[in-house]
Each structure stands twice: as C-alpha cells, then as structure tokens.
C-alpha cells in the first residue's frame, strides 16, 4: 500500500477514501448526494429516512453559532416509499451510498430497510424518540439498540452501521449493545443536546426550542467517544463531529476512527472532501505512514 493511497475497506465496502458525507447534510435528494460524491466524498450517507412522510420541526431549524451549529430539523423526509428513487440516483455518484434510517422500534427499522433496497449499507439512526419512553430517545436504551440492530441485521445482507448519540452517561454501553446486536460498525457521534435563546425577546430560537450541537464545538467530545468506543469494541468506529480539516480527520483517526464523516463543515466549503483527502494524503506521504498506522495510534502511544 503506497503511503498516499487512501482507499479503505470498511465493513466490506470499498471506499476510495475514508471521508464520508454525514447523515442529514446535503442528503435530501439523489442529485445532491451525487454532487457530494463528485466533490470527493469516499461515500455518502443519506438524510435519515422513516416510514411515513415527515415535515420536520418548524423553522428556524438551524443556526450558526460562534463555535458550531445548532439544529433541530426534526427528521424531515418523504418516507422510504418516496426516497427509493433518490437512492438509485445517488448510486450514480459512483461511491457507496449508505441509507440512514430511523424508527421507534425494530419492526419499523425492518420495514424501512426492506423498502430502501439497494443501499450499499444502512446506518441506523437511533435518535428517534422512544415510543414508550418519555422524553428519551431509542439510542439511550441499550436493550432496544441491541434489538434494533439484530432486527436490521436479519433484514439485510449488506453492512449495518449504528449511529450513536453522545447524550448518554456511557456511550460505550450503547456501542457494546450495538456490537452484540451484530453491528458491522458504530458511528459516533450524533449532535449534542443544546439550546439557544434570543436575548432580544426571550424566545428559544429553534422552532423545536432545543436541538443538537455540531461543528467545531463538539469535536473534542466526539474524539473522546471514538477513543472509548475503539478501546471497548472489536468492530470499526466511524468518527463524526466537527471535522473540517485534514488535521481534524487525523486526530479522529488517531482516537480510533477507521473512517470519518463530515457534516457541518460543508457550510464553509462543499469541496471539503477533496480538501481533506488531499491534505491527508500529503500528511501520510510526508510521514511515510499509511492509514492503518494512524487509526488508533493514541491507544498504542498510551500503552507504551
């Protein structure tokens, strides 16, 4: 493997590079996903898709803050029935297309996965409100996460990734549940519970009152989650949260990420994927490293 080769095998999928478009960002339509593939993403994840059409929360749904972004989109999507066509258009981009799916219970995940056949892999977004639990989300309950993962694995032969929320006391417990359920990889992290209030009026700014923080502000949080998950799990960890440069990608990989996803940073530049891959490639070459050398390096340094 030449040191500037960025291609990886991730849960059985071949990626030309490990920089992936994150779920919910420029992933509403097939052509938008195709465009991101053209901008150099090694794979693309769709907007999270559910079983019924959903308009999402009222606007404002997203805000740029000093140090990141706050959003509460509310999982808007046209349902898998309508998204199927978009998926096949996205595939024309020539990179793996991962369908992000969400639901409130195992059956719902199964229904959506079946309805979205043809994805290269499925990413289970377990951030949906817990049907029975009050105020909590599915992803905070290890039992449910394990069941959902197992159900998804039974439903499809392609890889299943589980996207984890950082809004738990112990993310490793949830990661382990996913792993027990048969997940091929975990993806960490989704956004961090947050809120902003308009001081001119006293109103919470988001239509949903509160939302999730992403971007630079959450990168140190994501690095810690990825570090802990890598240490505890035997399956690959895909790092996401605040990555906006090749340096950020390297840090996340050293924490243990086999690949990374980029979401909010498209704000600065949709060409961020090529930018990161070329920086990463130059870094590896200059240091005579390959990707395997840096994934999890922090753990090997600590053990020394």
């Amino acid at each position: 493997m030449s040191s500037t080769d960025l291609s990886i095998e991730l849960t059985g999928l071949g990626l030309e590079n490990p920089i992936i478009l994150a779920a919910g960002v420029l992933g509403t339509t097939g052509t938008s996903l195709k465009r991101m593939a053209g901008e150099g993403a090694g794979a693309v994840v769709t907007k999270s898709i559910g079983s019924e059409p959903k308009e999402g929360h009222p606007n404002p749904t997203m805000l740029k803050l000093d140090c990141g972004f706050l959003n509460a989109m509310g999982l808007p999507n046209p349902s898998y029935k309508d998204f199927r066509k978009e998926l096949s258009i996205a595939s024309e981009g020539g990179v793996p297309v991962i369908a992000s799916v969400f639901g409130a219970h195992p059956d719902e995940f199964q229904e959506i996965i079946l309805g979205l056949e043809g994805a290269s892999a499925y990413e289970l977004n377990v951030s949906c409100p817990h049907a029975s639990g009050y105020g909590t989300v599915v992803g905070t309950d290890p039992v449910l996460v394990e069941e959902i993962t197992r159900a998804a694995k039974r439903t499809t032969d392609v890889p299943v990734w589980v996207k984890l929320t950082p809004n738990v006391t112990d993310i490793v417990e949830i990661g382990e549940a996913a792993s027990r359920g048969g997940a091929d990889a975990v993806v960490a992290i989704n956004t961090v519970r947050s809120m902003a209030i308009d001081i001119h009026s006293g109103y919470p700014i988001l239509g949903n009152l509160y939302g999730g923080l992403s971007g630079p502000a959450v990168r140190p949080v994501a690095v810690k989650c990825v570090y802990d998950l890598y240490k505890a799990l035997d399956i690959p960890v895909i790092g996401v949260g605040g990555i906006g440069s090749w340096q950020d990608a390297v840090e996340m990989m050293m924490a243990g990420a086999s690949a990374v996803q980029v979401g909010s940073a498209v704000y600065d530049n949709v060409n961020i994927f090529s930018e990161i891959t070329s920086g990463l490639s130059a870094y590896l070459k200059a240091n005579d490293h390959c990707l395997d050398d840096i994934t999890g390096l922090a753990h090997r340094k600590v053990e020394q």
Partner: protein, 278 residues
C-alpha cells in the same frame, strides 16, 4: 449568526395582499440576496430585501399572515443576508461585486448596457433594488411587471422611475392584457444584454422558454423559490435537480442556461423532500 432584532419602523401597504415592512436595521446586501425572517414563536421564512432595511411580503399563509398583522414598534428576527444575489453587469462596474448566478464572462464597453427586468407579482421585491442599482450605474433599463390585476402591480411607481416601463395584467385591468410573456413581444429581445427575472415559477419558466427560443437563455438571471429550512446551505432541503445545487446558497439566483436543464417548471419539493409537480 443568531437573528438580529429588527424593529418595524414603518408599514407600507403596497397592494391589497402585499405590504412592505421597513425596519431599523440596514443590511449590506446585493440585490437578490435574501434574509431569513423569524416570526418569533411561529416560523422563519425567506424573504428578499426590497431595500437594505425592508422586506416586502405577500400574504399567502400563516407566517406571511402574521407578518401582515405586525404593527410599528413590533419586532422580528433577521438572519442574513444570504445567497448570491444578482450580478449586475454594465460599463459602470467592472469589479464583479455582488456575486451572481450567471457565468463569469467579461462584458466589454459595448455590451451589458441594455437590460430587461421582468417581475411577476411579489417577484418585484428583489428586482426593485436591482433596477435601481442598474439605473444608477447608467444602464439602459427596461422593466416589465405583471400581476393578476392592476391593484396587485407591485412597486409600479418606483419601477417606472428606473427606465422604460411596461405592465401586464391577467385581467387586462392595466397594460397588456394577459401574461407578462405576451408583453415581451413588443421588444427586440436580441437587443438586450441581460434579463433579470423573478416571479411565480410557471411565469419564470414561460419567460425562459421564450428566451431560449431566441437563444438568449444564458443571458438570463432568475431568482428561484424553493422550500428553505436551514437557509445556510447545510441541510439540503432546497437543492435542485439535476445539479444538486442549493437554492439558498448557490442561488437563489441562477443563470437561465442552468435552469433550462433543471426541474424548473416541472416540480419542486415540499417540507418533507417529496416532489410536488407544478
């Protein structure tokens, strides 16, 4: 950015369905750029700036209805300006400032001086500052505005001061009787260097078809309307087929040759992302 507080300082009743809200803020924006207008506790919607501190709102639903009920002294939240805005090309300016959805071709002294502004309904909101800027740059401006009926013609008085001026009304109550496309017949389109268009999507599509028939689609800049969520180019709600471009960030102004090959006039998407046919 967080929303800036904008207090309503004046309310101008433009037509039976359209008002202009003047506020105490001034934004440094190019014509065609938009802001996200937050009606607190209700919704946030995109609006063009009809003036550095003003929006011009047509009542069509809940949020615009709420805006129409505001009084002087009330306030709204404003984020922006966002998007690219129209590119004004003329001898008066070689600096290319103002962004622009058009191609980056250079216009010589001979070209770019004669422009046509075509506004349908509230589409006049982003086009008024464009027409005013073009006039002040010494361009030869021709304006066509259309509406359902004479009462609904927006900014008639202001536009008429910016150059040659025609109107069309669907019901014939003023000017050309019929659609604005009919009013275009009286002009030698090939004599114009740039067309600036904003209005209902099917009207824009008809206008663009006419321009394409004359081989002029590349000389058109159109401001598109799509459902916006984030407004800042991240969520993907507003992307158009087949380019995948974001109306809120790569637009809302696009060149006609890009749009002629697009979903324009065929479909748009609702808040769920589902296609809605026109």
């Amino acid at each position: 950015m967080r929303p800036v507080n904008a207090e309503i300082t004046e309310i101008i009743r433009e037509t039976p369905t359209i008002i202009t809200l003047r506020t105490d803020i001034e934004l440094d924006a190019a014509p065609g750029q938009f802001v996200m207008v937050w009606v607190r506790g209700l919704d946030e919607i995109p609006m063009a700036l009809s003036h550095p501190g003003s929006i011009t709102v047509q009542r069509v639903g809940e949020a615009t209805e709420a805006l129409s009920r505001l009084e002087v002294g009330d306030s709204i939240g404003i984020r922006g300006p966002f998007g690219n805005g129209f590119e004004v090309k003329g001898e008066g300016r070689g600096d290319g400032d103002g962004g622009g959805g058009g191609n980056g071709e250079e216009y010589g002294d001979e070209k770019g001086n004669k422009i046509m502004v075509i506004a349908g309904g509230v589409g006049g909101a982003p086009l008024l500052p464009l027409a005013q800027q073009a006039q002040s740059l010494g361009l030869d401006v021709t304006i066509l505005i259309g509406a359902r009926t004479a009462d609904e013609l927006l900014f008639e008085e202001y536009f008429s001061k910016c150059g040659a001026f025609s109107v069309a009304t669907d019901d014939g109550s003023k000017g050309h009787h019929g659609f604005i496309t009919g009013a275009m017949d009286q002009f030698n389109l090939a004599g114009f260097d740039q067309f600036y268009i904003c209005g209902p999507e099917l009207m824009m599509k008809s206008v663009l078809d006419i321009l394409q028939a004359a081989g002029l689609e590349a000389m058109a800049q159109l401001s598109l309307h799509r459902y916006f969520k984030c407004g800042i180019g991240v969520c993907g709600a507003c992307t158009i087929d087949p380019s995948g471009l974001r109306v809120c960030r790569d637009g809302p102004v696009f060149s006609g040759d890009l749009l002629i090959k697009s979903e324009l006039g065929k479909y748009h998407r609702d808040a769920t992302g589902k296609k809605i046919m026109f």
